[in-house]
């Protein structure tokens, strides 16, 4: 197991490099250092100011490969924009944000917790709500109840998440005043600000989630081993809860586990609407302010999370499905 993980991590290195390279090209090729400097310096900077900014941020160095001698008279080939940025990220020495003038690493540490207070409860509640419902619907498959449930799912899925958020917030917080509209409190008090966003997140995902779980279960119900169990005299309920569920967990687990790392990235929309100072908010503001240090740091972090997620998913596969072994 240990060697498997090590191998996967090593294999992931070229991927992470590829991700950083891609982001680098995306930002540095399409937007010149000049343009970036001008944007950050606000109204009408002088040429001197622009130049100073560029030098201070290391943007005057070549992109990949430095052939000029540095201050100490020697050539440092890796003293280039790309490798300097990579070095920082690999060592987790996050750069300073252009716009906010704070260290990105500190910003991330600050913003993770608020994001998690929404995504983790939403994630757990979704599963707790959807799984039993899916089993229930699978038990009554083929009946009107099943068709009705499916139709309701399609309707719920067809409502865009924005509607859930806007209408939910307007009705429940503004009109009926059951919840606070906006804002966040660190510490235990966070729950009152987080409750409504969590409920809305679960409601928005219910239709799609239930339909997916139902499809997975019904796929299993058609399997031959279910016929064998019935021929043995096993009851419907036991077939569903024991035989089908355990097999259905395999595809369900893959999708759920894969989304766990992304709980950290936070929900952009919810944070925007409810004023939660989380990672999603951080990203959005960075984009609006063309704050590249934040953007490239976040891209780097996110790709690490994705790789971690896929490794964990593959491992969880082996735990649930006896047919799968780590190669």
């Amino acid at each position: 197991m240990f060697y498997y993980i090590v191998r996967r991590i090593l294999l992931a290195v070229p991927t992470v490099l590829g991700v950083c390279l891609f982001t680098f090209l995306l930002f540095n090729v399409f937007a010149s250092p000049e343009a970036i400097a001008r944007k950050q310096l606000g109204k009408n900077p002088t040429t001197v100011q622009v130049k100073a900014w560029i030098t201070a941020h290391g943007m005057d160095k070549p992109m990949f490969f430095n052939q000029k001698a540095g201050k100490d008279g020697r050539i440092h080939p890796l003293d280039s924009r790309f490798w300097n940025q990579m070095k920082e990220l690999i060592l987790f020495q996050f750069p300073e944000s252009d716009y906010l003038h704070e260290n990105v690493g500190d910003l991330i540490k600050e913003k993770i917790v608020p994001s998690l207070t929404i995504t983790v409860p939403a994630f757990l509640l979704s599963i707790i709500a959807t799984l039993p419902l899916a089993l229930f619907v699978a038990y009554y498959r083929g009946t009107y109840l099943d068709r009705l449930a499916l139709f309701i799912c399609v309707i719920l899925m067809s409502i865009v998440i924005l509607n859930y958020i806007i209408v939910g917030q307007y009705l429940l917080a503004v009109v009926f005043k059951y919840f606070p509209i906006y804002g966040y409190e660190y510490g235990i008090g966070a729950w009152k600000f987080v409750l409504l966003p969590v409920i809305l997140a679960v409601a928005a995902g219910l239709g799609g989630g239930l339909r997916f779980y139902r499809t997975v279960m019904l796929n299993e119900v058609r399997a031959d081993y279910v016929r064998t169990a019935m021929a043995k005299g096993v009851s419907e309920g036991r077939i569903l809860f024991k035989h089908v569920l355990k097999n259905a967990m395999i595809p369900i687990l893959t999708t759920t586990v894969l989304s766990i790392p992304f709980l950290i990235t936070g929900s952009l929309l919810l944070e925007m609407y409810f004023g939660i100072p989380g990672m999603g908010n951080l990203l959005l503001n960075a984009i609006n302010n063309a704050d590249f240090p934040i953007i490239r740091s976040l891209v780097y972090v996110y790709s690490l999370l994705y790789i971690a997620g896929s490794i964990v998913t593959d491992i969880s596969y082996t735990l649930v499905d006896p047919r799968v072994t780590l190669e």
Binding site: G18, M157, I159, L162, L268, Y302
Partner: protein, 311 residues
């Protein structure tokens, strides 16, 4: 062989009334989008040239001075009542623009965003998927590496990043959406190509001396197409909904293009003033199109499912 599958599929779809209803609604929306594409330019008395479409001639209404609820006769501005220039079935928004007209203008945008990115994505997915599955070896490795890198970056981030460096606009949005969403389909096509590559009819064709190109395009591609269609039907609604979300975030289509997302966005300013009809109009249009598509697509998918093809 392809026609009989289509016939079977059509027969199966006709049986589900909801799917047929969905299809009719889609056609209705498509008609609206079409009306919005056919130009009907005119010059007014002052000699100014306007770019109008047929839809404009039918539904464009004069802009009022302020907002008004649906079917209102009068409205208030600065506490003075004034009569409206014409009847607005869905009211006017905070700027006095007719809501129904805005919503209708959004239809074309929705269709473009729902279809064009998929065409772009399908193109990449099919080409890379077929090549990776068919040739294997280093070609496969390279393509797999490329899409591993792309999928390590969460889609929305990549999307926003791409749009930040390009100008805003509907076609740029389509390109960005297309480029960020081909990976999933590519994986499926690669898998299916691997399966089909070893089937007897391909072996037989190869034994008869068919070239690689012939095999790829005449033998393998038709058998992989059903995946593309299924994916297209799955993603259309998602894309249409994401236009609304992206506009909200600030990376949607440029101002001046119809956009349901922008209408929903304005709810921020409008709801506090009790203006609910703009949001509702846009939401209903969006909901109807997406629902119709979901209902139709579900049945279309079942009808095309190869496992049920023997039925």
């Amino acid at each position: 062989m392809a026609e009989s599958h289509l016939h079977i599929a059509i027969k199966r779809i006709r049986k589900e009334k909801l799917a047929v209803a969905g299809f009719c609604v889609i056609c209705l929306f498509a008609l609206i989008a079409l009306l919005d594409t056919v130009p009907a330019p005119y010059r007014d008395a002052g000699g100014m040239h306007f770019n109008r479409t047929v839809l404009d001639t039918l539904f464009q209404k004069p802009v009022e001075r302020s907002y008004s609820p649906p079917l209102a006769r009068t409205a208030t501005l600065n506490r003075k009542e004034f009569t409206l220039k014409s009847t607005h079935v869905l009211g006017t928004n905070i700027l006095g623009e007719d809501v129904l007209y805005d919503a209708l203008k959004g239809v074309r945008t929705a269709f473009i965003i729902g279809i064009v990115p998929l065409i772009i994505a399908s193109f990449f997915a099919v080409v890379f998927g077929l090549l990776a599955g068919y040739y294997g070896g280093w070609v496969d490795d390279v393509i797999q590496y490329v899409y591993q890198v792309l999928s390590s970056i969460p889609g929305i981030l990549l999307l926003i990043a791409m749009l930040t460096v390009m100008e805003r606009g509907i076609w740029q949005l389509c390109i960005a959406l297309g480029v960020t969403s081909w990976v999933g389909l590519c994986r499926l096509i690669r898998g299916e190509t691997l399966k089909v590559k070893n089937m007897e009819y391909v072996e037989a064709a190869r034994a008869l001396g068919a070239s690689d190109g012939h095999l790829l395009f005449r033998q393998i591609l038709p058998n992989v197409m059903y995946l593309v269609i299924i994916e297209m039907t799955l993603d259309f609604s998602g894309l249409v909904m994401s236009e609304a979300v992206l506009t909200y975030i600030g990376v949607g289509v440029e101002p001046g293009t119809g956009s349901w997302g922008r209408m929903i966005l304005s709810a921020d300013r409008e709801l506090p003033n009790g203006i609910w009809w703009n949001l509702t109009g846009a939401s209903i249009f969006l909901f109807l199109l997406v629902l119709a598509f979901n209902l139709f697509a579900d049945v279309l998918r079942d009808a095309l499912d190869p496992r049920l093809r023997k039925g």
